[in-house]
């Protein structure tokens, strides 16, 4: 956390020294600050900041890509005259434990076209989702568990390196 604040501070310093307060320059300052901190990482106590940032950026790219693919799939289904979908309501056993993890996963599932989270069981162990393309129920479940959920949880669950 303190590394993150240092990085923000470095970005602001860069912006004030270069005298150009635009979003692109702020982002550039953040990247330079991140690089500087990364190169001097052995000077600080072990922190998972660098790992978290790296996995978060990877996850954002992965999710945006999935979002585009799934959107095209739903758009195709909407635009073609016949219904080729096989909707199901699926029970998805959760690896996510805390309220934050479960709501993050549910929101991401809802944002992906073709899947919609309906409800979480009272004991917070199972998430019920409505999936649009679920001819093979097990494949949908495995896809969400191994791709979305595993990557999401790995962002903050992996230990500092």
């Amino acid at each position: 956390m303190s590394l993150f604040l240092t990085n923000i501070l470095l970005a602001l310093l860069w912006v004030s020294l270069s005298g150009n307060f635009s979003p692109a320059n702020l982002l550039f300052g953040y990247l330079i600050g991140y690089l500087a901190l990364f190169l001097s990482r052995r000077a600080f106590a072990p922190s998972n900041y660098f790992g978290v940032v790296e996995r978060l950026v990877r996850f954002v790219f992965f999710f945006v890509w999935e979002l585009i693919l799934a959107n095209l799939r739903v758009a195709y289904e909407v635009l073609t005259p016949r219904h080729n979908m096989h909707p199901r309501v699926i029970a998805l056993p959760l690896q996510a434990r805390t309220d934050f993890e479960i709501s993050a996963l549910a929101i991401l599932i809802s944002l992906t076209p073709g899947t919609l989270s309906l409800d979480v069981s009272a004991d917070k162990k199972v998430l019920y989702i409505h999936a649009m393309f679920a001819e093979d129920e097990e494949a949908v479940r495995k896809d969400i568990q191994n791709n979305l959920e595993a990557r999401l949880l790995a962002i903050w669950r992996q230990p500092p390196s």
Binding site: P23, V78, H86, A91, G114, D119, Y128
Partner: protein, 131 residues
């Protein structure tokens, strides 16, 4: 350059919004309609807002755009979840092409508790809608 990018972003945003609207009209039941309306509309709003940010290119506008996108992405799934849950309780029928329904029999009709392991079929008679 930024103007071209902004034009393309707004074009694709509008296209996704159009497909979302078409999907609401074309899909057979409430749940598949919600797929269309929440997802594509969210992406559409996001793209149009990004286009606006590139068009103005000011920090104030960019910050507002980021805030709008974050709030839309946070609230749309919550609204979809509440609508879907309420519709399920109200007994809105699923499309006849739906292959299976894992929720059936897992709700306690009276308390609205969702029980994950055991079925509560006896509290959940077919076609009986207790409010």
């Amino acid at each position: 350059m930024a103007q071209d990018l902004s034009a393309w972003l707004i074009f694709f945003g509008a296209l996704f919004m159009f497909i979302a609207a078409l999907g609401v009209a074309r899909m057979p039941d409430l749940f598949t309609r919600m797929h269309s309306s929440t997802k594509s509309a969210t992406l559409g709003v996001g793209l149009i807002m990004l286009g606006a940010a590139f068009h103005f290119g000011e920090i104030g506008m960019t910050m507002r755009v980021i805030a709008i996108i974050v709030f839309v992405f946070l609230t749309a799934p919550v609204a979809a979840h509440m609508l879907g849950r309420a519709a399920y309780f109200a007994g809105v029928p699923l499309w006849e092409g739906t292959l299976s329904d894992a929720l059936r029999g897992h709700y306690d009709r009276r308390t609205h508790r969702l029980i994950s392991d055991e079925k509560v079929e006896e509290n959940f008679p077919e076609g009986d809608i207790a409010v």
